[in-house]
Symmetry: C2
Subunit: 239 residues, 2 copies
C-alpha cells in the first residue's frame, strides 16, 4: 500500500475489479493525507477524478467507513475520520499484542527471501537515518514491520497488522517533529535484527513489543505537547 519512497504514481496496483481499484486509490488518498482529517469528502470531485459514477465511489466509501478511515454522517456526507488523540493508546495497546505474536512466529518461520528483504530494509533505514530523511525513514519503517508481519506466514495476522498500521499512519506527522525518537527507534531496530538473526523468538517478541510501546508513548507525548502549545481544547477562542 505505502511505498518506501515518497513517490506514488497512484498506480492501480494490479486490482482486478473496478471496485478494488477505487478502494485502493481512495485508501491512498486518505493515507497520504490529501484531505485533512475532519474534512468532508467531495463525492462529485472524486467521481470526476476517477472517471466513474457515484455508485462505485459510494461503495468504496462504505468499505472505508467500515475500516474506520472514513466517517459517514447520515444525510450529511462522508468525512475523513477526525484525528482523535485518545484513539492512539488503544491502537498501540492492540498492536502490542500482535507485535508479540509477530516476533514469536517470525523468528520461527522467516525464510531466506524474507530475511534478505528485511536486511535490505534495515540497511535502508540506517541510510535514511544518516540522511535525517524522516519521510523515507517513516515509510521504510512501515514497510519493514509489514514485511516482518508477512514473514510469519499468517496472512490474516499480516492483514490485521496492516490495518492497525494504517490507522496510526495518519498520526505520524505529530511524531515526525521530534526526531530524537528516530535515533532511538533505529537503535531498537538494531536489537530487533540481532534477535531475528539469532531466531531468538522470546527476545524478538519482547523487543518488538518494547519498540511498539516506546513508539506509542512518543506519539502520545507528541500529541500532548501539541495540545499544550495549542490550547484550543476547551471553549476558549479569543483568550
Amino acid at each position: 500500500m505505502i511505498r518506501p519512497a515518497g513517490n506514488e504514481p497512484e498506480a492501480p496496483e494490479s486490482a482486478a475489479t473496478l471496485h478494488d481499484l477505487v478502494v485502493g486509490q481512495l485508501r491512498n488518498i486518505l493515507l497520504e493525507g490529501e484531505f485533512a482529517a475532519g474534512r468532508r469528502i467531495p463525492e462529485a470531485e472524486l467521481c470526476a477524478r476517477f472517471g466513474i459514477s457515484r455508485t462505485p465511489l459510494r461503495e468504496a466509501l462504505k468499505v472505508m467507513a467500515a475500516e474506520g478511515l472514513v466517517t459517514l454522517r447520515p444525510n450529511r456526507g462522508a468525512v475523513v475520520t477526525p484525528i482523535d488523540a485518545t484513539a492512539i493508546g488503544p491502537i498501540f495497546e492492540l498492536k502490542g499484542a500482535l507485535e508479540g505474536l509477530i516476533g514469536t512466529l517470525a523468528a520461527l518461520r522467516a525464510n531466506d527471501a524474507a530475511m534478505t528483504a528485511l536486511e535490505e530494509h534495515h540497511h535502508a533505514l540506517g541510510e535514511a537515518l544518516s540522511r535525517r530523511d524522516q519521510n523515507a525513514y517513516t515509510r521504510l519503517n512501515y514497510a519493514f514491520h509489514q514485511l516482518l508481519a508477512q514473514a510469519t506466514g499468517n496472512p490474516l495476522l499480516a492483514q490485521n497488522y496492516e490495518a492497525l498500521q494504517q490507522k496510526i499512519w495518519r498520526y505520524r506527522f505529530a511524531v515526525n517533529e521530534f526526531d530524537e525518537r528516530l535515533v532511538t527507534s533505529y537503535q531498537e531496530h538494531e536489537h530487533i535484527m540481532v534477535a531475528l538473526r539469532a531466531r531468538a523468538r522470546l527476545d524478538l517478541a519482547e523487543r518488538l513489543q518494547e519498540h511498539n510501546r516506546l513508539t506509542g508513548e512518543a506519539m502520545i507525548r507528541a500529541f500532548a505537547e501539541i495540545a499544550e502549545h495549542n490550547p484550543r481544547s476547551k471553549k476558549e477562542k479569543s483568550a
Copy 2:
C-alpha cells in the same frame, strides 16, 4: 450480534441508517448459516426480503466481502466464503494473541458491571452444560468471551476480537459434534473465572490462551476427522 439463546427475531438492533441495518441483517443471515458455505448469494431474493433495491444491498455485500464473510467473483456474483479448514489455524493463532491481551487488561480493568455480567454468563454456561444444550453453550460462550473483550475498556480490541469470533463461528458445527470438548471447555472456564476474580492477570492471560489453543486444536482435529470420513479431498468421485 449473536444472541445467547437460539431465538433471533432478526431485529434491527438499533441501527441508525439503512446501510447499517442491511449490513447487520446480512451479517446475521451469514452467521446463522442460512446460506451454506460456497452458496451463491441471491441478490434479488434478499432485495425482496429486505424491501430494498439492489444498490444498498450491494453496498452491504462489498462491506461483508472486505470482512471476508463473503467472496465477490467478478461478473459472477457473491458467494458465502467457502469453508476452508486451512484457515482455522491462522485464525486461532491470531486470536491467541488477543486472548493474552484481553486476560491482562480484563484483570486490571473489569468493573463491577462487567464482573456481574460475566458471572451470570458463566453460571448460564454451567446450566447449558448440565442440560447438554450445545447450541446454548456455544452461544453463551461467544457472548462470554465478547463480554470479557469489552471489559478491557479497549473498544478496538473488542471489535477486532469479535471479527475473529465471527470468522470462526461458521465452523462451529464441526466441533459441536464432539461434546466431550464441552466438559473440558467448561473446566477451563472455571479456571478462567478463578483467575479473573483474583485479578491475576498473568494467570488469566495464560488460561485464556490455553483455552483458545485447546479449542482451536479440537476444531482442527474435528475437521481432520470429517475429512477422513469423507475423503472427497482429491479428484475421486466414483471411487
